[in-house]
Symmetry: C2
Subunit: 104 residues, 2 copies
Amino acid sequence: MDEFAGVTVNKSANIYFDGNVSSRKITFADGSVKTLGVMLPGEYEFGTEKAEIMDITTGELSVLLPESHEWETFKAGESFNVPADSSFQIKVAEVTDYCCSYVD
Amino acid sequence: MDEFAGVTVNKSANIYFDGNVSSRKITFADGSVKTLGVMLPGEYEFGTEKAEIMDITTGELSVLLPESHEWETFKAGESFNVPADSSFQIKVAEVTDYCCSYVD
């Protein structure tokens, strides 16, 4: 899937960590939401409300998921799941373009 | 206008200057295109093919437009035009969220 058709896009970006992470919310006709974002190299911590599926479009990063003691590396074409109401740490090795889906 | 409805969004971001500038292409039903992007503080030079209208959503930057000898500053809610087939320089003072429209 190279594009998402028939969606609504927020004009304003979500900007985190002084712009080193930014994303744009897209809403589908069925009301579901994704965010398309870019992360620059660095280390970040995020919190979730809903469970999330993070798809890596380009780039590379490592993730320390909740309840885990080992960093896992993910590259373009790979994805990882994060449980709801939790936090996870990320080390971005290369500029990473991602798509985050939220699971009800 | 806080959002753009009924558009197609490219999943992949356009990434420039090692991720310090990134944008996402959105295509409207009439075929017209905009890009929604974020620029981190820094100095950049861009080239245009079509004429462009740059709307600043948040942030602040200064621009040296073609044929101009003076830098002009633009903030949230302001916009500037760049002629087709030209280049322009930008100094980003604060993380800037922008919307670029292309003029046929």
